[in-house]
């Protein structure tokens, strides 16, 4: 090119010229490798999961029959399997609720009152437990909840051993010790997923303008009224956003109920056992499709509640 200011210096310059004239070429070059990876590895696997769930297992040989059938999905509705799904949903819902209640004071304080150094303390204070090793956190609770562990020791020391015994005597959720009861499973779930609730909640609360709270006070609202009619509605998208995490993570987890709790199964544990020792891949796949469908419904509801603006 005669009009070029500088002479071309090789392939790099030539390609730059192409990128300049056709930005789409650069875009395509950038996007293709990650797209291929996610498309093949991830979407491909999800498709394999779906496909597998429509296969069935031969009861005599124990081999997977590669023929389309709805038999496996019908099996999900058997009382024993349906119980697993119901139990998982109940646990996810209670964990989400408890996390929201526990998260609120932390999120509210961090959003409204913490400044400077304290802001950083709160940020790291939530971020570090969120990121630190999941297995180590679960393990720590195994130590804490054990019959000979610190909770029993503290309760006995304070003369509150009867309260602990009363909690463990509760039908349905109690057990021999906290580490072998539903109560224990519940506590550990709440602990492990709590930071995922705090962060979006704090983000939503930070966006509540201070002037609104002042206006509410000027108009004669008590702090309880301000909380109920101003803060809570405005924080709701954050709560819903956080609940997406706590709900989804509880629903899919199989490590916690395996280590802490009764031997009652949850969806995650059922998937794990079915694909492993039982060797029933189709039923395991069908079980794994359940949380996907529930999360899709949940996400579309959350989208309507405006939760994605708070993420």
């Amino acid at each position: 090119m005669k009009s070029a200011l500088l002479p071309e210096r090789g392939a790099g310059d030539r390609m730059t010229a192409i990128f300049w004239r056709r930005p789409r070429v650069l875009l395509a070059l950038l996007i293709t490798p990650p797209l291929l990876w996610l498309g093949v590895v991830y979407i491909g696997s999800l498709a394999a999961l779906l496909l597998q769930s429509f296969y069935s297992i031969d009861e005599f040989s124990g081999l997977v029959v590669h023929e389309f059938t709805l038999k496996t999905y019908i099996e999900l509705l058997r009382p024993a399997n349906f119980d697993i799904i119901r139990r998982t949903l109940l646990m996810s819902a209670s964990v989400t609720l408890a996390s929201a209640v526990l998260a609120f004071p932390i999120a509210y304080y961090a959003a409204r009152y913490a400044t400077g150094r304290w802001k950083a303390v709160f940020y790291l204070g939530v971020m570090l437990p969120l990121w630190s090793s999941y297995l180590v956190k679960v393990y720590a609770w195994k130590l804490i909840l054990a019959k000979e562990g610190i909770i029993t020791w503290v309760a006995d020391g304070l003369g509150l051993g009867f309260l602990l015994d009363a909690a463990l005597a509760l039908p349905g959720v109690g057990g021999n010790s906290l580490s072998t009861s539903f109560l224990g499973t519940f506590i550990v779930f709440v602990y492990v997923w709590l930071p995922y609730m705090i962060l979006p909640m704090q983000a939503a609360l930070e966006r509540v303008p201070k002037s609104m709270l002042e206006a509410s006070a000027d108009l004669g609202a008590s702090s309880a009224q301000t909380f109920r009619t101003v803060i809570l509605p405005l924080a709701m998208p954050g709560v819903v956003a956080g609940s997406i995490f706590t709900f989804s993570l509880t629903m899919g987890d199989y490590i916690i109920p395996q280590i802490i709790g009764t031997s009652a199964r949850f969806i995650g544990l059922a998937v794990y056992q079915l694909q492993g020792t039982a060797g029933n891949l189709p039923l395991a796949a069908a079980f794994a499709v359940v949380p996907i469908i529930i999360m899709l419904i949940y996400l579309s509801l959350a989208k309507r509640a405006g939760a994605f603006d708070a993420l």
């Binding site: 790099g12 310059d13 390609m15 730059t16 990128f19 930005p23 875009l27 950038l30 996007i31 490798p33 990650p34 990876w37 996610l38 991830y42 491909g44 696997s45 999800l46 394999a48 999961l49 597998q52 526990l102 998260a103 004071p105 932390i106 509210y108 009152y113 790291l124 204070g125 570090l128 437990p129 990121w131 630190s132 090793s133 999941y134 297995l135 180590v136 679960v138 393990y139 720590a140 609770w141 130590l143 054990a146 000979e148 562990g149 020791w153 709590l194 995922y196 989804s248 899919g252 199989y254 995650g268 998937v271 794990y272 694909q275 395991a284 796949a285 794994a288 949380p291 996907i292 999360m295």
Partner: protein, 269 residues
């Protein structure tokens, strides 16, 4: 008169109580690594000893899982670094068809429960008769690490002013020189932070790994087996401290690397 900016006492107490609830349990692991009690989780420990560190060091069954975990984390991080950065570069400026769907696709591996990612990969390996190997573990880890690098990189890309790349072009640099001398130095700390977090996530991952590892064991899988069927409990405590430190330190570094920016190191784990 009560100042407007002072929190009510009950709120302060609840907030601090919440933070303690998040942190105290982890501290306990450190105490238990020194206990003399071998068979139970007795509290308070009857005595303190340093011997478990030596015992753990000499246990031959801990080293191979540790090496495997380090290798998987390193390779997955490298792959996620490349793929995540490419994705961020494409998504940061351009508007194109399917952009929203793509951003959903990137987040999906971490938004859906790990058991789904794991079971999906397991189904695919089974349908295609792919035997379990180190490669199958890496495949899973790299997939959910992409989003971590992506989040860090895309935030930095958005903060970078477009005019610096234009200035670079005006001064005669081609795209590759602009990348090498302008973009890379500016992206550096964000990419390093993303890599640190991806490494921590991969090193610690257990749910997806149990589905893709077959008979191999990474350090978290080793720990899980010890949790289900304990053999020498204090040795597990020592390993727990090692796992904790190996994830904790990169997270702290990532925090300091991205502090003050609009991007938050942990956003969207």
């Amino acid at each position: 008169m009560r100042s407007e900016n002072r929190a009510p006492k009950s709120l302060t107490l609840a907030a601090i109580g919440g933070l303690l609830f998040l942190h105290l349990p982890i501290m306990l692991i450190f105490l238990y690594a020194f206990t003399t009690e071998e068979r139970t989780y007795q509290f308070p420990p009857p005595g303190l000893t340093l011997k478990w560190f030596a015992v753990a060091w000499n246990r031959a069954d801990i080293w191979p899982p540790l090496y495997l975990s380090l290798m998987v984390a390193a390779i997955s991080t490298m792959m996620a670094l490349i793929l995540g950065t490419l994705c961020a570069a494409a998504m940061a400026r351009a508007r194109f068809f399917g952009r929203n769907q793509l951003s959903l696709l990137i987040i999906l591996p971490i938004a859906l429960p790990g058991v789904i990612t794991g079971m999906s990969l397991r189904s695919a390996f089974s349908l295609m008769d792919i035997p379990f190997s180190t490669l199958t573990i890496i495949l899973g880890h790299a997939t959910f690490c992409i989003v971590i690098v992506f989040n860090n990189a895309v935030a930095r890309f958005r903060r970078l002013s477009g005019s610096i790349t234009e200035a670079s072009a005006d001064l005669g640099a081609n795209s590759f020189q602009t990348f090498r001398y302008i973009l890379l130095p500016n992206l550096g700390s964000a990419l390093l932070a993303g890599a640190m977090l991806a490494f921590a996530l991969s090193f610690d991952e257990v749910i997806v790994t149990t589905f893709t590892a077959g008979q191999q064991s990474t350090l978290p899988i080793w720990m899980l087996q010890e949790l289900v069927r304990p053999r020498q409990r204090p040795v597990t405590n020592v390993v727990a401290i090692v796992v904790f430190a190996t994830t904790f330190i990169p997270i702290l570094i990532a925090y300091y690397l991205t502090r003050g920016g609009s991007e938050t190191a942990g956003g969207g784990k």
